[in-house]
C-alpha cells in the first residue's frame, strides 16, 4: 500500500518566489511589497522615502506597471537603481517577473528593495513576491469603507499608510471608522498617516523602516 504524505505542492510561481526569497536573504536585502489602488500615491511615497533614506541605506526599486515607464523615470531621477516591469496588461506582479528584475539589479549593493506593485486593490494581495513585509497604501480620497470592502489588501501587512491626509478637510473620510475596521482585520498592522504632497508623516515611516532594515542586518 502506498502512503501519500500530505504536502502542499508548490506551483510554478511559488517555486520561483522561493528562489527569489533565498537570493534576497543571501544578500541580506530587506524587501517590501507596496500595494494600493491606482493613484493612492505609491510612487509619491517612494520618492519621499528615497529622499529620507538614501543617505543612510542602500536602496533599489522594482516598478510594476501595465504599460509605460513613467514611474521608473520618476525614481531614476533620484539616482538609485530601478528596474521597470511592464506586465502588458496583467493585473499583478509574480515570481517570474521579480526574478527577471533581480537579475538586473546590483544585489551586492542593496540593503532595502522596494517593489511597487500594480495599482490594484484586489489581485496583488494573492501573490507572494518573496517580500519580508507588505505595506498597503490607502488614500483619504478613496474613502474609509475600502478597508472593509477590500479586506485581503489590509490583512497580514506590516504597515498601512493612510496617504493624502491633507485632503481630509475636503472629503467625508471617517477616520474613526477607518481605525475600527483596521483593528478588526489586522490589529498588528502599524498605521502611518501621511501626506506625500506636504511631506508630513514620512519621517515616522522612514525611521520605522530604518529600524527594520537594521534588524535584518543584525540577524544576518
Amino acid at each position: 500500500m502506498e502512503i501519500t504524505i500530505g504536502q502542499r505542492i508548490l506551483d510554478a510561481n511559488d517555486q520561483i518566489t522561493l528562489r527569489n526569497k533565498q537570493l534576497l536573504r543571501e544578500h541580506g536585502i530587506f524587501t517590501i511589497n507596496i500595494m494600493g489602488s491606482p493613484g493612492a500615491g505609491k510612487t509619491a511615497l517612494l520618492e519621499k522615502l528615497i529622499d529620507k533614506l538614501k543617505p543612510e541605506i542602500k536602496m533599489a526599486v522594482i516598478e510594476g506597471d501595465l504599460f509605460t515607464d513613467k514611474d521608473a523615470q520618476r525614481i531614476e531621477s533620484q539616482k538609485i537603481p530601478v528596474v521597470q516591469i511592464n506586465t502588458k496588461g496583467a493585473c499583478h506582479l509574480d515570481g517570474q517577473m521579480i526574478e527577471w528584475a533581480l537579475d538586473r539589479l546590483p544585489l551586492n549593493n542593496i540593503e532595502l528593495l522596494i517593489i511597487e506593485n500594480i495599482g490594484n486593490l484586489v489581485c496583488p494581495a494573492e501573490f507572494d513576491l518573496g517580500e519580508d513585509m507588505r505595506i498597503s497604501l490607502l488614500s483619504v480620497t478613496e474613502g474609509e469603507d475600502k478597508v472593509a470592502k477590500y479586506p485581503t489588501m489590509f490583512t497580514g501587512v506590516g504597515a498601512i499608510v493612510l496617504n493624502k491626509v491633507d485632503l481630509l478637510p475636503y472629503t467625508n473620510f471617517k477616520l474613526d471608522d477607518f481605525y475600527k475596521d483596521i483593528k478588526f482585520l489586522d490589529a498588528d498592522a502599524k498605521v502611518f498617516e501621511i501626506s506625500c504632497s506636504q511631506g508630513s508623516g514620512v519621517d515616522a515611516l522612514a525611521d520605522w523602516l530604518t529600524h527594520k532594515v537594521k534588524e535584518i542586518k543584525e540577524v544576518k
Copy 2:
C-alpha cells in the same frame, strides 16, 4: 479531407453573456457597465444619476463588490431595484454573476440597468457583461497619468467621467495631459467633468444618458 472553418469558439463566459445580452435586448433595457478604481466615486455617481433620472426612467442597479453590501444599501435607500453581487474576493464581474442577478430583477419594469463593477482599473475591462455601453470613471485625485498607464480601461468606452473636479485646486492633476491622452486612446469617448460631492456636471451626463435610453426604445 476535412475543412475547418475558422470561427471563434465561445467560452463559457461568452455564451452566458450572449444569453444575458439577448434577454436584456428582448426587454428593451439599456445597460451600462461602470468601471473605475476603488473610491473613484462609482456609487456616488450612481446616487446622483438616480436622483436625476428616477422621475423619468425606470432604473435598476447591479452592485458588484468583493465583500459587504455597503453599496447596495446606499442604492436601496433610493427605492429602486438593486441586487448585490459579492464575488468573495474575485476581481471582476462575469456573465454567470450577471445571469444570477438578472434572475432577481423585475426585467419587465426596467429601462436603464446600471452595473457597478468591482473597483479595479485593470481586470473588469477584459470581461464583456453584455452591456450596451461602458463608462469609465477616473477621479482627479488619482492623477492624469492613469489614462496612459491603464489604457485598456479607457478604450472602447462610451463615456469617461472625470470625478472630484472640486479637488482640482488641491492636486497637481494636469487637465491638458488628461485630454491629450484620452484623444490619443479613444477619440470618440464623450468626457464629462463632474463633482459628485458638489453635484456639478451631473445634469449633462444625465441628459446624455436619457437620450441614449430613448434611442434604444425607438429602435425596439
